[in-house]
């Protein structure tokens, strides 16, 4: 189990494991508990306006969680293909994967989300007009689909690099030993390289999840009624910025703290399994 929060973990280094961090592990849970208790007190004991805000943003919370989980599931898959592309000996594959990673990493996520929500549908409509295809002419983007697509493409590039670093951290001799026993490349990846790489990449993958959870608030700018957007909507009706953003911030904090604990638990279980 790692002592560090995932944010401090260098994806190139295997985590250093020890048992001096049992206390910190408890402290992590304590923090989750404290934040949750604070939320409960605000909503249940202090009441107005916190209870009103809470009830109002609750469906936004559901959207945030859904968008994050769906995106993350897709990102885990995109990352595998990205990493295999980046590590491929076939130059066209490697070129495409590298181009993807470099382009996506160089553009702010918010700009990418604007592109998918505003620019992409207009491109489809223009092409529809040119080719005279009715369905394309009237193309209307579903904000949820576009937001998830945008987040997935962006985080898929980050995850590609996390996987690539993890796979490359496994000594070359492992692949050679597997191949010399007659395993195919795919078998060697599946039984030898990836199981070892997973231990190495778990902390940075957990970190990506937490960052994605926070960055999902950007979808509020492209018509998705997530937690952040619901907060802003409440603010438009009842201008109580301090109360609203205290509440919203606290809700994000509980989710990220909880995620960090879950990642630490999985890590601990894996290191015990060896």
């Amino acid at each position: 189990m790692s002592t560090s929060t995932p944010a401090e973990v260098d994806p190139h280094l295997p985590t250093i494991r020890g048992n001096e961090n049992v206390f910190r592990w408890d402290a992590g849970w304590l923090l989750v508990l404290a934040a949750s208790a604070l939320l409960a007190i605000l909503v249940l004991v202090v009441g107005n306006p916190f209870d009103r805000i809470f009830r109002f943003v609750l469906d936004g919370l559901r959207v945030t969680v859904t968008v994050t989980l769906v995106t993350f599931g897709l990102v885990l898959v995109v990352g595998i293909f990205g990493a295999l592309g980046r590590l491929s000996t076939a130059i066209p594959l490697r070129g495409i994967a590298t181009l993807y990673v470099e382009v996506v990493r160089g553009i702010p996520l918010l700009v990418q989300l604007y592109f998918w929500y505003y620019a992409f549908p207009s491109i489809v409509r223009d092409l529809g007009a040119r080719w005279n295809i009715e369905s394309m002419k009237n193309f209307v983007a579903n904000p949820y689909v576009m937001a998830i697509a945008g987040l997935t493409l962006c985080y898929g590039a980050y995850m590609t690099e996390v996987y690539r670093a993890g796979i490359q951290s496994i000594p070359k001799g492992q692949m050679e030993a597997a191949r010399s026993l007659g395993m195919t490349y795919v078998q060697a990846m599946r039984y030898i390289i990836l199981p070892q790489a997973i231990r190495v990449i778990l902390p940075p993958v957990g970190n990506e999840f937490i960052t994605l959870l926070k960055d999902s608030s950007l979808v509020s700018a492209v018509a998705v009624a997530d937690l952040t957007r619901r907060g802003r909507e409440f603010q438009a009706i009842t201008p109580l910025p301090l109360h609203i953003y205290l509440m919203i911030g606290l809700m994000y904090l509980i989710m990220t703290l909880l995620s960090a604990r879950v990642v630490a638990m999985i890590e601990a279980r894996m290191s015990k399994e060896r």
């Binding site: 000594p171 492992q174 050679e176 030993a177 395993m183 039984y191």
Partner: protein, 242 residues
């Protein structure tokens, strides 16, 4: 007799480095060939070309009648050729037993029980059946290398390649590994061994090959190569190393 390994005028470049400069070598079934030579002379590269861990740029290699050309042939050859590495390269996330059974199951398509039976026999043979459920990190270097040998043997190879199998070991562990290799040689395994262990060569080698600068400079029985080499380069190397 048809040689089990036929190497014909093989060249290998690493970028500008010309690592193998036309190596030709025939090895008979059951023969034990030891390759010696200075660092960088191409010993590992030659060994790795035999099971195509390294691609070569020119020439031909035929193993047990199978030319190393297509991908299917390469996999076919790899199941006939076992390889033991200097750094053992055991799979650290698998137990000793799993290290030995995995490829049996997924490459040789053996059942779990058959693979385990074969693995236990081999662990018995290399002298560490009690370590079956240990993980590689819990073994000494000598024990790890013996597991690596058992892992390769489990595939029933016709040929075993060893690349400096004892040079990463503490001195007191070298003999236990050499003993396993000696036994294997006596049983008639075809072996190609890169090693500077004179004792092993004298006891087991049918032929010693001296390589330098990517070519075979001289070859002969160990008694001749070690005591009466004809080439100056061989003499110089032996005086320095052995």
């Amino acid at each position: 007799m048809e040689p089990i390994i036929h190497i014909e005028n093989v060249h290998k470049y690493f970028g500008k480095v010309h690592a193998l400069r036309g190596v030709s070598l025939d090895i008979q079934k059951g023969e034990v060939v030891v390759i010696i030579g200075p660092s960088g002379s191409g010993k590992s590269t030659l060994l790795r070309c035999i099971n195509r861990l390294e691609e070569f740029d020119k020439g031909r290699i035929i193993v047990d009648g199978i030319p190393l050309d297509s991908a299917e042939n390469i996999n076919a050859v790899r199941t006939e050729v076992g390889m033991v590495f200097q750094q053992f390269n055991l799979f650290p996330h698998l137990s000793v037993l799993e290290n030995i059974t995995l490829a049996q199951k997924i490459v040789r398509k053996r059942s779990e029980s058959e693979a385990v039976r074969i693995a236990m026999n081999l662990l018995e043979k290399v002298g560490i059946p009690e370590k079956a459920h240990a993980y590689p990190a819990q073994l000494s270097g000598g024990q790890q290398q013996r597991v690596a040998i058992a892992r390769a043997l489990a595939m029933n190879p016709k040929i075993m390649l060893f690349d400096e199998p004892t040079s990463a070991l503490d001195p007191e562990m070298i003999q236990e590994v050499l003993d396993v290799m000696l036994q294997l040689a006596r049983e008639g395994m075809t072996m190609v061994v890169v090693s500077h262990e004179m004792g092993f060569s004298r006891n087991a080698a049918d032929r010693v090959i001296f390589m330098d600068g990517g070519v075979i400079v001289e070859e002969g029985p160990p008694s001749v190569i070690f005591t009466n080499p004809t080439q100056e380069r061989t003499k110089l190397f032996l005086s320095k190393v052995m």
